[in-house]
């Protein structure tokens, strides 16, 4: 027989349960509802963790101590364990009178009378709810027991739903993370394939271009010699043609550089010497730029192709110089670092990645120039991408640098913000056996 108040209460209880999606909220709601609806001193909820085979006090109302300060954890050998094994509610009017249960009692909040009801959903045991010691005289009534049973029945369904939801959202997060990392990998691979395709195309185009370029150069040279030099306009025109064709040739040379699967000539080098040599070659361009060197002492030698690496450094120095037309500082740092976290290669290739804990030789080339916007930064290694304006850059410099560093099984990264300067970081491998460091 349902009382009107009981129906109203159950309706409100279920409404609240449905809207609570978080497991802890549901447990709290169950525990508080039981306390508010029944004339009892205390209510408590023990959740069961099948992985640790332990009950823990997840929520309680009416305790005379702060249960959160000292979380209660008990094993199967307890009254809760007894209820779990029997899978039905236990109604105790006087605990002291029950020798068996008194011995089992590990629940610190139990005194005299209590109902302990299991929350079970489709055979899955989730925990137990206690309602303890009536404020009103007399034993627990059948009506009170049935209220508790209704609470645990509905509570179990909600708890299971919340658990499923939690699992689902965890899965969704895992899936999302997996998707993101796959997408990142795919982007890098597409980029890498794109580069290979461009490389092939570039080498074909470069070869085809150089024949007509060579022919035009020969033609201009011939005309220069047979046309009397006093014809100023003609010589001027020829000189412009010659200059332009030489520029075209330089572009084609960088295309060839970009596409060529060059065999590197490795030798043991002192990275500082390579940097110094490169710096010497751009010295005249430095003008009002101050060079700051922060070089760690006793650096290990590395096995590199000196000419190729110089090409990289010169390119990076020139980029830095172009970014600081009004002057500024060019900072060169070289040091050995043990990586805290893994560094992924710019093209997603495994043999160009570094593991966490690995020691790497790092070269940083930093300028205090104009910086690069986030949008441009994403495309910085794309071949033919340039911000230098028409005719001023081929947009291949950094792509070539990247290829050269990749051929050294290293990796390269650019950090920059508009107006904040730019930092290029090169990670070079330090061989296990530093053969070149013996002599």
């Amino acid at each position: 027989m349902w009382y009107e108040g009981q129906l109203d209460f159950l309706f409100k209880f279920s409404e609240k349960l449905i809207s609570a999606l978080n497991l802890q909220n549901i447990v709290q709601h169950i525990t508080e509802t039981a306390y508010n609806f029944l004339p009892v001193e205390r209510t408590a909820f023990l959740t069961w963790d099948k992985n640790t085979a332990k009950f823990s006090l997840a929520c309680a109302v009416g305790l005379n101590y702060d249960y959160r300060a000292k979380p209660l954890e008990i094993g199967k050998d307890s009254i809760a364990g007894h209820v779990m094994r029997n899978r039905e509610a236990l109604v105790v009017q006087d605990l002291e009178q029950d020798f068996y249960l008194s011995k089992l009692n590990k629940e610190e909040f139990l005194q005299k009378a209590f109902i302990c009801a299991p929350l079970i959903f489709k055979n899955e045991f989730l925990g137990v709810l206690y309602v303890c010691d009536k404020k009103t005289p007399g034993p627990f009534t059948q009506r009170e027991v049935s209220v508790v049973m209704n609470i645990v029945r509905m509570g179990a369904i909600s708890m299971e739903n919340a658990r499923l939801l939690e699992q689902l959202s965890k899965r969704a997060k895992e899936l999302e993370a997996a998707y993101q990392s796959l997408k990142e990998m795919q982007d890098k691979l597409i980029q890498s394939e794109k580069l290979k395709a461009i490389g092939l195309l570039a080498s074909g185009v470069a070869h085809e271009m150089r024949n007509p370029i060579g022919t035009i150069m020969q033609g201009v040279t011939f005309l220069e010699q047979i046309i009397p030099l006093e014809t100023k306009e003609v010589t001027e025109t020829l000189s412009i043609v010659k200059e332009s064709i030489q520029r075209a040739d330089r572009i084609v040379i960088s295309l060839l550089d970009f596409s060529r699967a060059t065999k590197l000539e490795f030798s043991w080098e002192d990275i500082n010497a390579v940097l110094e040599n490169s710096l010497n070659l751009v010295k005249t361009e430095l003008k009002s730029i101050e060079v700051v060197k922060e070089i760690q002492k006793n650096l290990p030698k590395v096995s590199v192709d000196m000419n190729k690496l110089m090409q990289v450094f010169i390119n990076l120095f020139m980029n830095a110089i172009h970014a600081m037309p009004q002057g500024g500082r060019l900072i060169i740092r070289v040091f050995v670092k043990q990586l805290r976290e893994a560094i992924n290669s710019v093209d997603g290739q495994l043999n160009n990645s570094f593991a966490a804990g690995e020691k790497v030789l790092m070269v940083e080339i930093e300028d205090t120039g104009a910086g690069i916007s986030a949008e441009n930064l994403r495309r910085i290694f794309d071949p033919f991408f340039t911000t230098k304006g028409q005719g001023k850059g081929t947009g291949l410099g950094l792509s070539i640098c990247r290829n050269i560093i990749m051929m050294h099984k290293g990796t390269i990264d650019v950090q920059s913000q508009a107006l904040q300067g730019t930092k290029v970081i090169i990670y070079l491998r330090i061989p296990d056996r530093e053969e070149g460091n013996n002599g």
């Binding site: 470069a206 070869h207 060579g214 020969q218 033609g219 011939f222 060839l256």
Partner: protein, 124 residues
Amino acid sequence: MDKKKILIIDDEENFCTLVKKNIELTDEFEVSIATNGQDGIKLAGEIKPDLILLDMIMPDMDGADVIACIKNDKILKDIPVVILTAIAKGDESIPQAAFSGGYALLSKTTTIPALLACIKKNIK
């Protein structure tokens, strides 16, 4: 004194014509042209040039095939060869022995002074 004979073997006819014009401006050399490998070897046998300017990438018979034929020919085997190629990078002769078989190698976009210097250095 007779002019030294140079043979250009290159499938780019326009290129050959202009190189010939430029070299002949010096009045020191006489230049003949063949626009494929087979014609080039045939012509070399006939005129016995003092130096061959050879393109690498050509249809049918490429520069490497031409070199192999010349090396196997008793009469032609000692003729110096300068390789002119579109895939060499710089202006100057690059000692890329593996690629050029020890022959001088020049970019097709080289300047005439550099080409003449290379010819004079290698010609017999």
